[in-house]
Amino acid sequence: MQRHARSTHALSRSLALAAVLALLMAACGGGGPAGDGGKEGGDAVADTIDLSGVNIAVGSKEFTEQQIVGQMARLALEAAGARVDGQAIGLTGTQNVRGALQQGRIDMYWEYTGTGWIEILQQDELLEGSDAYYQRVKEADAANGVVWLRPSEVNNTYALFVGPNVDLGVQTISDLAALARENPDRATLCAATEFIVRPDGLGGVTKAYNFEFSQVNELALDLAINAAIQGQRCTVGEIFQTDPQISKKNLNVLEDDQGFFPVYNLAMTIRRDAYEQHAEAYDTLFGAITDLLDNETMIELNGRREFEGESFDDIARDFLVSRGIISG
């Protein structure tokens, strides 16, 4: 009897030990540099760059697009041999991510030129064109010790749209303005607080196009888009240009024919200290990724997350491999 009890005890102990070991291995197996540095098929951009031994912390904001490009940065850097800490990918709010950058808790993250100008540098002067935003932001932020790399063509700016259930017969914001002046009841807006209070939002666009909405409903962004798609509470909604709902739900995005809305080009921002140590490597690596990104591509990638539910990691990896940035 006693021998039986002892051997059962020993058995359960070994099982417990095995379970603990399995858990530990699962936990530890997650991070770490990708691959064993194998340089076979070295066509991928990341393979031509050597960042081995470099410790980098990458961050991003919480919304879909940011997390996808954040993972892209992490994967590309890892493929180049760096040891990347991606814990700060997915922080909530520009302030948190930018704060982490300025305090040195992260080394880099993707930011938008317009956001840099308006929110980070707290300027309320509106500029004209991609170049203007990039140059002015780059110049002014240098004083904060932050380097802005060459921006992509992704322009995640504001857009006004008419939902599929509403027929206003307008294609551009000028059309909308004319309609609003003639028939005010047909021009009602559902928008988020941010759009409503910012000078590059509601106030600015109504002034630039010379019209008013007869009613403005203020809601959280997702709810506002939802309400505008339903079309009962309002006829016009506010959305960002790279929102995948635009293509999926067939939204009629009104053309900003007078070019009022500021430019929000996606660009990599890096702390100067970190940048200067491997400037060329970063320029090459992120330049290659940047060249591949535009609104259409972003909408598609965002859609893979929001409609197919794929993980940010998978989406980023697939993209980078298929475009030859990292090898598979």
Binding site: E119, A192, T193, V197, P199, L219, A220
Partner: protein, 252 residues
């Protein structure tokens, strides 16, 4: 019958003076806030939400949201609480209390957004959500208040020939009032805070100011909205405390 004597007067003055302490404090806080604001150079974003009209609008809307939802809560939860403490309702109590518990356990943010998405946006459904959220304190306090009435007092009343209804109206309720009012006071203050969230569902309120500050990184807006909300909560609590004192039956 005691008469106020000469030596009572300083004590009375002290008591009266205490009544002015809280409003004076609130007024001082608001005054310093406005002095501070008038010295700032607001940019266009801040000016949108920090101007006299806008602040007054938001505050009045906030009071409306809190006021209507509290009246609704009292109108529904107090009678329900009375009903549920009657002998015949013993078995009905658990489900109602569970619903009330759930109403408050679910995060206010969730209740408000859920109502908006299923019922609709705007003030009406925001008030419905606030009512559900504040239901529990009033219901529970009504029930507890009635349950803690000494049964021998009720027996005495019945013994004196009072009907059940008369016992309820003249003995149970007056004795339960302090506890019920404490619940109402809690619900009121809760609602002042929770009502800041309904800015997200097109219902306005002081949350308009706070949220604008959060999304545009203008701390001034966040602080102003926050201070005004807190001041409002203190004011509401103070008025409720006075009501409690006024409505408390003599002899308790």
């Amino acid at each position: 019958m005691t008469m106020a004597t000469h030596s009572d007067r300083p004590a009375m003055a002290f008591r009266l003076g205490r009544y002015f302490l809280m409003p004076a404090f609130i007024a001082a806080v608001c005054a310093s806030l406005f002095v501070y604001l008038s010295q700032q150079e607001p940019d266009r974003i801040v000016a949108q939400r920090l101007n006299f009209d806008s602040i007054v609008d938001s505050t009045l809307r906030h009071l409306y949201l809190v006021g209507v939802s509290t009246v609704l809560v009292i109108a529904i939860a107090v009678p329900l609480g009375i009903l549920l403490t009657r002998p015949f309702a013993r078995t009905l109590t658990p489900p109602f209390v569970t619903v009330a518990n759930t109403g408050q356990a679910v995060p206010s943010f969730g209740v408000i957004v859920l109502f908006a998405l299923t019922l609709g946006f705007g003030v009406r459904y925001a008030i419905a959500a606030l009512t559900i959220y504040a239901f529990l304190p009033v219901l529970r306090n009504t029930m507890v208040g009635l349950q803690q009435v000494d049964p021998s007092v009720i027996e005495a009343g019945r013994g004196m020939g009072m009907s059940k209804r008369a016992v309820l109206a003249k003995i149970e309720l007056p004795l339960a009032v302090p506890v019920v009012l404490a619940g109402v006071r809690t619900a009121l203050v809760l609602n002042v805070g929770t009502a800041t969230i309904v800015t997200l569902t097109d219902a306005g309120g002081l949350g308009d100011i706070i949220n604008a500050g959060l999304v545009t990184n203008r701390t001034l807006l966040v602080v102003t909205g926050g201070v005004l909300t807190a001041a409002l909560a203190l004011l509401v609590d103070y008025i409720a405390a006075i009501a409690e004192n006024v409505l408390r039956p003599r002899g308790l």
